[in-house]
């Protein structure tokens, strides 16, 4: 550009180039499209329409999402040293896309309420302390703990952090590691293990022509929703599969069902037996797959009897059986609304019986490829762990308890008096990113780095095809210099205990490098240490050898308990889990607070779902405040009235109603888990979360619901147009 022909416009362009180029280059030495040297790029002039689009090149790094236990592979886009956006890792075995919780996990990383330094309780309040003081306190209160007087209480853990945790517990002479998840598939896994000999078999939605799900919200919160969503896309293509959902409250999966059936909570097993009865007696399905004892039980569940128990009309049962008979292979699933009862195990067993009867085992339910490295596998959480812990802590069995990745003070029902029981533990340490209820009741708080600031490995509980170890790497420099990764804290504690095997490692990164070096040569495929490490980090996971599994079939007892009624508390309470607030851990993410619930479209607050019949009987209108009372307590929230909840049931979503947990969560909505009755599933010992009875009444106050959109229906406009499946199969079928 010569000086003679420069005009005002060019001068401005030139200044723009220089300014942006210099600023970007001095920030870091990442490549940028706007440089003086190249000068070839289009300059975005100030008044051009795309003037706000300043192109820069992001660099992508692979990592693993930790926002729920599924552990999907992600790609983080990094510019100027900051991670800006997450995408599903297209190569990951359990993902590709990303759900809204994964997208919003960035707001956990950048959360303004993160804990940025260690805190210790002084004179009743948590006060900032240095790491030196924190370690001194640990030495004083924790390292001399007598054998068996310490415990860990965590969420799902896996990978090498799990290895270190096990080593630490061994060094301390403590075998008590409670792994707790409020949203889990523990009852389903127990039945899978008992019947198939495989707790987490592979579900082939892509091969199924019909899916019958008893409350398994596989598109929302069940097991591995992003992976299942992708498989659902295949299930709905070509010879489009039929989805039937039986549950008391419409989940995201229920909202996508071809046939949504409201059964009285707890009678799912009876419905399954009724369907089996129709299949055997009317659809000529051969019962030789089932043992005689099962056939005897099924014969007692006639259509009319099941209709009476469950409230599901007889012709609906016949219709479901028809779909299953016509469309083979099918897949029958059960989830939390079927599991959370005193007869939860039998409900799951009855659902599994349908798979056996219909010959789905080996077809749409395949053996898992179990990873050979047992020590790395996920320790999956359940709710029995919380009940056991409450009992032990209440009996004063522990001097020291470490909390990590779980918030029992918030999720425990009031009858467990969790806060009081935890208070009985003399020294409580919370390893946490956020000031949640459990963290705020601890005596020492150690600030964790975010999943996008640290090195870690993890193994997803559900491994769809091949077994894999997922890698987490820092996507950027830690936001706070005082936070530490779980791996680093565990390693420091092991060194503190003087465990020899770990003394040589400078930090957790060094340990991970060495641990990956020691993987068998077959995994490393001839690569040297650096090449193998780089490949793993670049790809985001390591394929691991697996033991070929096999499935047996031995059906357990099917007999169902009768449906209990209770005159004082005529309604059932469903504390529903949603792919949004989840178990409450996402309540501090403003994107998810503002994202309307998929079904009710309500944001930033709680609600109670009421059927129109019940509402008109009690004179309830949308937006009225309702009092929901169980034998354990009372909560009040606004009513949303629709036909997606059973007539005898009210549903309140989990996840809001925090007393702590930062500015976005605190004091926002109600927590239905608090008023759960003290009942458990008799076989598995799991908390029967869906077995609480309540009565409801109007408070006498009303307010406009915080809900997206005006009209609930299309009023005749072709906004969402619909065709029948027959037409679809004719025009686009395989």
């Amino acid at each position: 550009m010569s000086g003679s022909d420069i005009n005002r416009r060019d001068f401005l362009k030139f200044m723009g180039l220089g300014g942006v180029g210099a600023a970007t280059l001095s920030g870091c030495d990442m490549p940028t499209t706007i440089t003086l040297e190249e000068g070839k790029e289009k300059v975005v002039a100030y008044l051009a329409p795309e003037e706000y689009a300043i192109p820069g090149i992001g660099v992508t790094f692979a990592s693993t999402c930790q926002q729920c236990p599924s552990g999907c592979g992600v790609h983080g886009r990094v510019r100027e040293g900051r991670v800006l956006k997450l995408e599903g890792n297209p190569e990951a075995l359990n993902g590709k896309g990303l759900c809204q919780m994964g997208q919003a996990s960035l707001q956990g990383h950048y959360n303004p309420d993160r804990i940025t330094q260690p805190m210790a309780r002084k004179g009743g309040a948590l006060m900032p302390v240095s790491w030196e003081d924190a370690w001194l306190l640990m030495k004083e209160k924790a390292s001399g703990t007598a054998q068996g007087r310490s415990a860990w209480f965590t969420g799902t853990v896996s990978g090498h952090q799990s290895v270190l945790l096990a080593a630490l517990n061994k060094a301390w002479g403590s075998k008590d590691h409670y792994v707790y998840e409020a949203i889990n598939n523990a009852v389903g896994s127990a039945v899978n293990e008992a019947v198939l000999g495989d707790a987490t078999p592979v579900y082939r939605f892509d091969k199924a022509k019909a899916v019958l799900s008893f409350g398994a919200d596989f598109l929302g919160t069940w097991v591995s929703p992003v992976h299942f969503s992708r498989e659902y896309g295949k299930f709905r293509s070509g010879d489009r599969g039929v989805l039937i959902q039986v549950e008391p409250k419409m989940t995201l999966t229920g909202g996508n069902a071809d046939l949504w059936v409201a059964a009285r909570p707890g009678t799912e097993g009876a419905v399954a037996l009724g369907i089996a009865n129709v299949l055997l007696s009317e659809n000529q399905v051969d019962g030789k797959q089932l043992p005689q004892a099962a056939l005897d039980v099924i014969s007692q569940y006639s259509v009319s009897k099941v209709a009476e128990i469950s409230g599901v009309p007889g012709d609906t049962l016949v219709r479901i059986a028809g779909y299953l008979k016509e469309r083979s292979p099918s897949l029958v699933l059960s989830g939390e609304s079927a599991h959370g009862h005193t007869n939860g195990y039998q409900n799951a067993m009855a659902a599994m019986m349908l798979n056996v009867l219909l010959g789905n085992i080996g077809q749409t339910i395949e053996a898992s490829n179990s990873m050979v490295f047992d020590e790395l596998k996920a320790k999956q959480g359940n709710s029995k762990a919380m009940l056991d812990f409450a009992a032990a802590a209440g009996a004063g069995e522990y001097d020291v308890v470490f909390f990590m990745g779980a918030n029992p003070v918030y999720t425990a029902p009031a009858h467990l008096a969790m806060a009081d029981k935890i208070a009985k533990v003399p020294f409580k340490v919370a390893l946490s990113m956020f000031p949640d209820e459990t963290t705020m009741s601890a005596d020492l708080v150690l600030p964790l780095s975010s999943p996008y600031e640290e090195w870690a490995t993890s193994v997803s509980p559900y491994q769809p095809k091949d077994a894999a170890i997922s890698m987490s790497q820092p996507l950027m420099k830690p936001l706070s210099v005082e936070t530490r990764s779980l791996g680093d804290i565990l390693l420091s504690m092991l060194k503190y205990q003087g465990v020899k095997d770990y003394e040589t490692f400078e930090d957790y990164y060094a340990y991970l490098r060495s641990a990956l070096d020691s993987l068998p040569a077959s995994v490393k495929a001839g690569k040297d240490s650096d090449a193998f490490w780089s490949a793993a980090v670049q790809k985001g996971f390591i394929k691991a050898p697996s033991k070929p599994g096999s499935l047996k079939v031995s059906l357990g007892e099917l007999d169902q308990g009768g449906y209990q009624t209770n005159g004082d508390y005529p309604m059932n309470l469903v504390p529903s889990s949603n792919q949004s607030m989840y178990d409450g851990r996402n309540a501090n993410l403003p994107w998810l607070q503002e994202a309307p619930d998929q079904i009710t479209k309500i944001f930033w607050d709680s609600w109670v779902e009421v059927h129109p019949k019940t509402a008109s009987k009690l004179g309830i209108k949308e937006g009225d405040f309702i009092r929901i009372e169980s034998d354990q307590g009372v909560i009040e929230t606004q009513a949303y009235i629709y036909k997606g909840v059973h007539v005898d049931t009210v549903a309140i979503p989990m996840g809001r109603g925090h007393e702590e947990y930062g500015r976005y969560a605190k004091g926002n909505g109600v927590n239905p888990l608090k008023i759960l009755s003290p009942v458990v599933d008799e076989k598995s010992g799991e908390l029967a979360t869906h077995a609480t009875r309540v009565r409801i009444s109007k408070v006498g106050r009303s307010e406009e619901l915080p809900r997206l959109g005006g009209s609930e229906v299309q009023v005749g406009r072709r906004l969402v147009s619909t065709v029948s499946a027959d037409v679809f199969r004719r025009t686009e079928g395989a």
């Binding site: 990303l98 293509s237 071809d258 007539v647 229906v713």
Partner: protein, 281 residues
């Protein structure tokens, strides 16, 4: 344009977009959204918040309809209306509809802007120039889809308390009060894709540009691309469904094909094609 002229030549104006307008288009960015695969999970909407620096406005402002969800997941129940005397339950589930700016080629929002802040680009996009916008809100009033969003406040003051602001995408600006905004089809990604192609000395090819919503969609229901590119997946989908741009009425050889554009009878000529949801009965 006198009233007399409008009335006399009404049928011509109604179908003016069929003449092709005045643009020599370089690209025609468009979408195909399969409602048979969409589950209404809302991942697209949150991905859009993350990509496009959308502020959260809080409960009360959201309730007043001031939320800035460029991509909004709508959910409809089957008629008859709630509490009707038909079936006891919502047996067929819900109907989900992801709605982002439809990038109409005969956009009703464009001619009403008094300052030409919204206009059509050579990429076929309906662009919004923030620093021309004076906030008359005529465009929003004229959008039949209600997909334009107004900054009633300086949301940036409260939306990103430190360090949340570090997540902001530097590829596009944060908007201030008094300005209208809407989905841009991730114009910053389009620009990046075009620059990369130019640097490599080639044409932009299918897959170079993916919008945030399409990239995150767990069921791959959203397909984005250039409708002028014959080999693009989106073009193939439009063709297979016999939906064409610039047509008031689609003449389909097969009346059972699923492709349609929302409220296309209004002649807005949207660049987003939806495919019918499918129900068993």
């Amino acid at each position: 344009m006198s009233l007399k002229n409008i009335l006399e030549n009404w049928s011509h104006y109604r179908r003016a977009h069929e003449d092709g307008g005045h643009h020599e288009y370089e690209h025609m960015w468009g979408m195909a959204i399969d409602l048979n695969k969409c589950t209404g999970c809302n991942a697209c909407s949150v991905a859009c918040y993350a990509e496009n620096n959308l502020p959260t406005v809080g409960k009360d402002r959201m309730r007043k309809g001031q939320g800035l969800h460029w991509l909004r997941m709508e959910r409809y129940w089957d008629e008859p209306d709630l509490g009707g005397d038909e079936k006891e339950y919502q047996e067929r589930g819900g109907s989900f509809l992801p709605m982002m700016c439809q990038q109409c080629n005969a956009a009703t929002c464009e001619p009403v802007c008094p300052v030409a802040a919204t206009y059509h680009t050579p990429d076929g996009l309906n662009a919004q120039v923030y620093n021309r916008c004076i906030g008359s809100r005529y465009c929003s009033n004229n959008c039949p889809y209600r997909l334009r969003y107004f900054n009633f406040y300086s949301y940036y003051e409260e939306s990103w308390p430190e360090p949340l602001n570090m997540q902001l995408n530097p590829d596009l600006s944060v908007r201030d009060k008094g300005v209208m905004e809407k989905c841009t089809f991730c114009i910053q990604r389009i620009r990046t894709g075009k620059d990369a192609a130019q640097r490599e000395g080639r044409e932009v090819k299918d897959g170079d540009v993916v919008t945030a919503c399409a990239q995150t969609c767990p069921t791959e229901a959203i397909v984005f691309g250039d409708l002028l590119d014959k080999d693009a997946q989106v073009t193939k989908l439009w063709k297979a469904q016999e939906v064409e741009l610039g047509k008031t009425k689609q003449d389909k050889s097969n009346g059972e094909l699923r492709g349609y554009r929302v409220l296309e009878g209004l002649n807005t000529d949207p660049c987003v094609m939806y495919m019918d949801r499918v129900r068993e009965a």
